[in-house]
């Protein structure tokens, strides 16, 4: 390993050139680290955003039942689903939140105007407002599939406050026929930051009067078994296309058992089908939030390649010039019988040693700079939108650009690869050197 020792002596003796090489490697390593961190953060954020936002596919149709929704929900593309059964309940002891504006006379004709919107679901976390952070739980818990069969309800905090209700309290909800009531337990309160509008809106249409309960419980209040719709969460638009096939298969099979239902097949976002089913893909949130992250990730990947290529070319040229400049030294070593691969090895060791020093400098810098860079370079996590029924103002998930050992390892591998390629390729010239032509004058 005497060539390694020579490399160390050479680096020590040629301080100026070593510093130049170090400068180049610092730049390359910093850019590479930036690229890897950005790519890693983009991948993490994409996965998180997919998980949180995903793509919601809404299936509607007259014959859509909870059983059919369950069959579709069990197919591979689906990560979760909510059968949605809507109704309006007129609870005798609950006063709804109302708009500030006076009620217009014509609105009084609607007997259900003072009702509360009751939505039967499986999992409140899968609701878009909750998934995107627009709505958040402030007390108790959300609804899950484990609540199926239980008479529990989730209230908006303004309605709860107005009626002095809190978690654990019972609340009487009227059945669909308005004649009997069933006692529900308040298991959670949520906050929807959507303001109560200044103009008149029927109380049942206000977000503050939105109640969520398990779909079976809502059905038990006499609101039927046919779902208003079912919302299936998949991870990407591509998965939505797969789901469409599954929906057609399930609904065709269901349809063959009874009259009149099959899925429409007019395209991925399918409008009404011939037999009354509708397949809507809501990938707006996905497109708005995942695609930019994917673009950042792809850019970071391209950046890594570009830096690697540019770094290799730059260092290759530097090393080629160095070899040219150090021909006499190579000739001397060859005259002593040094093996040519060791001469190439000496140059590689010199460049690799500088690369390692650069990495050692860049690593702590990366730890310092990464968090600040992350907030500037990456789009924010799942963000608020202005969809009706939603509640803007939720805090977006913070974007993290964190450096892991794997990132540093990746930079080290690429940097050492650059060292190797940039020295071995010009080093081929060393293999062609002949000591006599270097060291002695031709007579």
């Amino acid at each position: 390993m005497n060539f390694v020792k020579r490399a160390a002596l050479s680096l020590g003796a040629r301080k100026g050139k070593s510093a130049l090489l170090l400068g180049i490697f610092l730049l390359i390593s910093a850019l590479l680290l930036g690229g890897f961190l950005l790519r890693g953060a983009a991948e993490r954020q994409e996965a998180e955003t997919r998980r949180q936002v995903g793509v919601d596919v809404t299936v509607r149709g007259d014959g859509l039942t909870a059983d059919a929704a369950a069959l579709i929900g069990a197919t591979p593309p689906v990560v979760g689903y909510n059968p949605v059964l809507r109704g309006v309940t007129l609870p005798p002891g609950v006063t709804p939140v109302t708009a500030d504006a006076p009620e217009p006379p014509e609105a009084r004709a609607d007997p259900e105007r003072n009702g509360l919107a009751l939505t039967g679901i499986h999992d409140s976390e899968l609701l878009l407002a909750f998934a995107t952070g627009r709505a958040e739980l402030v007390a108790g818990r959300g609804l899950t599939e484990r609540d199926a069969g239980r008479d529990v309800v989730l209230l908006e905090e303004r309605l709860a406050e107005r009626n002095g209700l809190t978690v654990g309290d019972p609340v009487e909800l009227a059945a669909a026929d308005g004649e009997e009531t069933v006692a529900f337990e308040v298991v959670g309160l949520y906050r929807s930051p959507q303001h109560t509008p200044a103009q008149w809106i029927a109380p049942r249409d206000l977000v503050a009067n939105q109640l969520y309960a398990p779909v079976a419980a809502v059905s038990g209040l006499g609101f039927g078994t046919r779902l208003s719709e079912a919302v299936f969460r998949v991870e990407s638009p591509e998965a939505a296309r797969l789901l469409r096939v599954e929906v057609e298969r399930v609904l065709d099979a269901e349809g063959s058992d009874g009259p009149g239902s099959s899925a429409s097949s007019d395209g991925p976002d399918g409008p009404d089908g011939p037999d009354g089913f509708r397949f809507d893909v809501n990938d707006k949130a996905y497109q708005d939030q995942v695609r930019p992250i994917q673009r950042v990730g792809a850019f970071a990947g391209a950046l890594v390649w570009l830096i690697s290529l540019a770094g290799t070319v730059t260092l290759g040229l530097v090393v080629a010039l160095t070899i040219r400049e150090r021909r006499d030294e190579l000739g001397v070593l060859l005259s002593l019988g040094e093996r040519k691969w060791k001469l190439v090895g000496q140059h590689t060791a010199e460049v690799a040693a500088v690369a390692l020093v650069a990495l050692a400098v860049v690593a702590p810098l990366g730890l310092l700079v990464a968090p600040a860079a992350g907030t500037r370079l990456l789009p924010d996590g799942p963000e608020e939108s202005e969809e009706p029924g939603g509640a803007p103002g939720a805090e977006p998930a913070p974007t993290e650009l964190r450096m892991a050992a794997a990132d540093l390892g990746a930079v080290a591998r690429v940097a050492l690869g650059i060292s190797l390629v940039s020295t071995v390729l010009p080093g081929i010239g060393i293999l062609r050197l002949h000591p006599r032509s270097i060291l002695t004058d031709s007579e």
Binding site: R6, L334, L336, G337, R436, L439, D441, E443
Partner: protein, 245 residues
Amino acid sequence: MTAAPRTPAAPARPAPPAPPVLTLSGVGHVYRDGHRARTVLQHVDLDFERGVFYSVVGPSGSGKTTLLSLASGLDSPTRGTIRFDGRDLADLGLGRYRNRHAATIFQQYNLLTYLTAVQNVTTAMEITGARPATGSRRSRALELLERVGIDREAARSRVLRLSGGQQQRVAIARALACDVDILFADEPTGSLDEETAAGIVAIFKELAHEQNRCVVVVTHNQALAAESDRVLTLRRGRVSTTRRR
């Protein structure tokens, strides 16, 4: 070359002569520059023996340096064969031959300029694998440098800070450190004062006569040539005379 000078065996000696350490047989060398060819050496037959101090003399352009380059394994002849201990250098490998068996002192010193004098010597020892019988390579290097007149302070200096004469002596110490069978030198005393040159010649003689090495020195210096055991005179690519002292 038809009349290749061979050293005649001494008829009175009872024991057969030792086999030559290096043999050049029909060696010729032609430099090519595009379509132009220039013959520098023509059919040279020479035997170099252990224990003998040779000098190679001749006018400029006569092929002395080329002969040195070929014999020291820095280059291959375009014609003929060179054998070390009976083995063709082409088979042995020029790199291995230079590494284990031959060392060269160059006219331009050819030191590693980024190293100190002592580092130049130890680096050569590391490359050739030379190990001193006692002590470290560094102590052996310092000893050799001292022997050629380089004191400790100069030994620890970067060679670029040394004078030409000092660099020449470092180059000599480096060659001595390699502990090889044959030592080649191209004008080794050209940059040295008379006293130092005499000391170097004494070392060459000691190497040949006491350590049984073969020493081959290319020189224009007639005084140096006169100190050698045999003088090979080159003229127009031919070895014209061999004189045995």
